[in-house]
Structures are given as C-alpha cells and as structure tokens.
C-alpha cells in the first residue's frame, strides 16, 4: 500500500506553469497582505499605547479596562476574534463591516495587546538610576520621561515591533477565512480552479518564507547589537 503511494508521488507531474500563469494574481494578493500588515501595525502601535496608558492609569476603572482587554485578547484564539469582529460587531451595531476592515480591526486589537507589553518592558528596561540622575539634576518628571526614558525605550521597542510586523504578515493569512483577497485567499481561489493545491500552496509557503525569514534574521541581528551596547 505504502509502495503504491510512493509510486504515485514519484510519478506526480508537477505543473508549475499553472502557478506562473497566475503569478500577477498571486503577487497582487501579496501586495494586499503587506498593505494589510503595515496598516494593522500602525493601528496596533496606537492601540498598544492606549492599552499601556490604561494599564498604568491612576484610575482603577481605566486600569481594569486595560487589563481586561489584554487578558481577553491574549486568552482567546485569534481566528475566533476575527470571526467575532466580522459576524458579531455588525449585529451589535447594526452596520455591515467589510471583511477587510474586520480583518484589520481584529488583527490590530490582537497585536495591540502584545504591543502594550512591548512598550511596558521597553520603559522598564531603562534603569531607575538614569531617572534618578535626571531628578537630582532638577529635570521635571515630564522632562525625565521625555528626554531620558522615552528615547531609550523606543530603541528597545523597535525590534519587537518589527517582529510584530512579521507576525502580522503570517496572521493576515487568516483573512482568507472571511474572504479577504490577500495572497492565501487568492491561493485558495486559484487551487479551486486549477486543481493544483500542491504547486499553489507550496509556492505561497515559499513566498511567505522568503519574506519573513530575512526579516526575522535581520531583527535578531539588530537585537543582538542593541544588547551589546
């Protein structure tokens, strides 16, 4: 039995031309993937800032809201969140949201809850002594945060933010489930017409890999350089 399968594998006739024939179609999807990831990252950075500020707020209610958002988002599957945003939000608010918008909202919320932690650890990475030196010299708490803490914290948060971008490139493939026309969705559509899932999805995996892998390597290098300082 195993033999027969091996044989059929061996005799498989690759038809890469079915992929090349739709190259532009798939690359258009890739463009969509990258645009979605970039927009989402920007929104998630803002959202992360809001969650971080809520977490650190002087008011208990705001802290509670910030912490709850983080906990709920981190402890439910992202796919469920996307489906929830796409199907439930319209019911609640009585407006139909486009799949693309739902995808961006869902992903941004998800990443924001992680990015808020990135901000927090970036700020905490600045030694207390640096702030105390500023305080003794007479800088106000605002000046100290602005001039001493923030510039150092930002430097520490840039690599994790770049990692978030890589994650978004991969997570945006979930948009396929709600018919957002990014590269994975286009692959699904293509394989449904050319009946060549092997070539199609292999090609798509390779595309993802050669975008994400160099980025991940560069980020690792960047982080090591920061640590060495």
């Amino acid at each position: 039995m195993g033999n027969k399968r091996d044989l059929s594998m061996f005799k498989y006739q690759f038809r890469w031309d079915t992929v090349w024939g739709s190259f532009d179609f798939l690359m258009g999807g890739l463009q969509m993937t990258l645009v979605i990831s970039a927009i989402t990252l920007v929104l998630a950075m803002l959202g992360g800032l809001i969650i971080a500020l809520l977490d650190m707020s002087r008011f208990r209610v705001l802290r509670w809201i910030g912490i709850s958002i983080g906990e709920v988002v981190r402890n439910t599957p992202i796919l469920v969140q996307l489906l929830w945003v796409y199907y439930v939000l319209p019911i609640v608010f009585g407006v139909r949201i486009e799949a693309l918008v739902a995808l961006i909202i869902g992903l941004a919320l998800y990443q924001a809850s992680f990015i808020s932690e990135v901000y927090r650890s970036g700020i905490q990475s600045v030694p207390k002594g640096h702030r105390e030196a500023a305080q003794v010299l007479g800088l106000t708490p605002f000046q100290s945060f602005n001039r001493i803490v923030l510039p150092q914290a930002i430097r520490m948060t840039l690599p994790p933010l770049a990692s978030n971008f890589v994650q978004l490139i991969k997570f945006s493939s979930l948009g396929a489930v709600i018919s957002v026309s990014e590269i994975t969705r286009r692959g699904m559509e293509l394989s449904a017409t050319n009946f060549r899932p092997l070539e199609t999805f292999t090609f798509i995996a390779v595309v993802y890999f050669f975008i994400c892998w160099p980025l991940a390597m560069a980020i690792r290098f960047w982080e090591r350089r920061l640590q060495a300082r």
Binding site: E132, A133, A134, Q135, V136, G138, P151, Q152
Partner: protein, 254 residues
C-alpha cells in the same frame, strides 16, 4: 536664614522601609567647604541617608534643612515641596554606578540639565561643559558615548555633569567602589581637587585614605545610627567606641 546655619542639615532623620528601620534619628550638618566623609559597614544606611539629603527619599521622621529652610519632611506640605524644588539643583549627587545617559554623548550629558533646568543658552552650556571636561581631563571624549569610556572616565564625566549645575553641595555615594583599583585613583584625584577648591562635599566611601587625609570630618555609621563623628584624622587615630575600632581593624593592612 542666618549665615551660621549649616549649608545642609539632616535633622533627626528616621527612615523606615515597611517594618525595616534603616535610619534612626540621624542628625548631621554640613557647612560650607566641609568635606564630611561617612564610613560604616555594608547595610548601615549610608546610601539611604544620602538619598534622603538628595531628596530621592522622603524621611519617615525628621527633616532635611538647607540654609535654614526645610526642604524635605514626612508628608511635605506645599511650602516644603516648593522649597525642595527650588534647591533641587543646588544639591548634586554622584552615584556608585555613574548613571550616565547612554543615548547621549558626553557633551550632551553635561549640557542637558543646564539647558532644560536653568534655561541656559546652548553656547554658554557648551562652554561650561568644555571647561569642566578639561578639568576632569576628558576634553578628548567630548563627543564619545558613555559605553565607549572606562568606568573611571564615566565617573569623571558624571562628576562633571553634576558640577555643570554649579551645586552648593555635592554628595558622593561610593563613587569609586564599582571601579578597579587603578581607575579609582583618577576619580579620587578629581575629588581631592574639588575639596582643595573649597567644594562642599558629603562623601560616603570605603576609601579610608581619602577620609583621613582629605576629609574635614569623619562620621561613622552602624545599623542606621551615627555612632561616632570626629574631625579629620582624629577618628582614625583615636576611635572612641568598640564598634568603630572593630570596623577600622578590617582596614589595618591597607
């Protein structure tokens, strides 16, 4: 504000962290041109005392008084807070671990506070900073970043940074103990130079030679209390208490 009032005074300071009482009614006055050296075993509360005087900690009891004006009390009122803010940059501090800002060059470290706090024009701040760098013998490191400097160089920059605000008193918290012996000397030389120029200094140190030869007064702390205080070398030549004698024995071979 009489002219005989000490420049800075710890007035019966008690400090507790939770249930842990770290300072017990510590009183210490520092007058102009004094070089008061504080010695004592690890954990005796020397750093905490300095931090109270630098307004980094609030005393649990007692107060800090600068030239007759209370600048720090437990649960300070508006007036005390304002007085504290007003003299903030008159009290400089040099930390054990330098605490230079690593994202700024040496020059930027020096001009940041004069420009932001004193609203000094940049040119003037740079001129002062360059003069101070010359004084600590680091003119060639003006544009270097702290990570590029040795510990001794970093600490000299930190001293210059404190001096850039022309403080009335400079607090040193074991400024040399994070350094290798060879590097200590260059920092101690700068401190000795400052003392000669009449800088008012309160120096927490394990350098008994510095305390003996440069200090005008030595204060011995143990378990949160001032056990003994004596002028200059007298503390070393004739310690009065058992605790002080035992403490000094450790340094005999030095």
């Amino acid at each position: 504000m009489s002219s005989t009032a000490p420049l800075i005074l710890a007035d019966g300071i008690t400090k507790r962290f939770g249930a842990n009482q770290v300072l017990t009614r510590v009183s210490l006055d520092v007058s102009e041109r004094d070089v008061v050296c504080v010695v004592g075993p690890s954990g005796s509360g020397k750093t905490t005392l300095l931090r109270c005087l630098a307004l980094l900690e609030e005393p649990s009891e007692g107060r800090v008084v600068m030239q007759g004006v209370p600048i720090s009390t437990p649960a300070p009122n508006k007036q005390v807070k304002a007085a504290g803010r007003a003299v903030r940059s008159d009290i400089g501090m040099v930390f054990q671990h330098f605490n230079l800002w690593p994202h700024m060059s040496v020059l930027q470290n020096l001009i940041e506070a004069p420009i932001r706090v004193k609203k000094m024009p940049r040119d003037e701040a740079v001129a002062i900073a360059e003069a101070l760098l010359k004084k600590v013998d680091l003119s060639d490191k003006r544009d270097a970043y702290p990570a590029r400097l040795s510990g001794g160089q970093q600490q000299r920059v930190a001293i210059a940074r404190a001096l850039a605000m022309s403080p009335k008193v400079l607090l040193f918290d074991e400024a040399t103990s994070a350094l290798d012996p060879e590097l200590r000397r260059e920092v101690l030389a700068v401190m000795r130079q400052l003392a000669r120029e009449g800088m008012t200094m309160l120096v927490v140190t394990h350098e008994m030679g510095f305390a003996r030869h440069v200090g005008t007064r030595t204060v011995f702390m143990d378990r949160g209390e001032i056990v003994e205080a004596a002028p200059g070398a007298a503390f070393f030549d004739a310690p009065q208490t058992e605790r002080a004698k035992r403490f000094l024995q450790q340094f005999e071979d030095e």
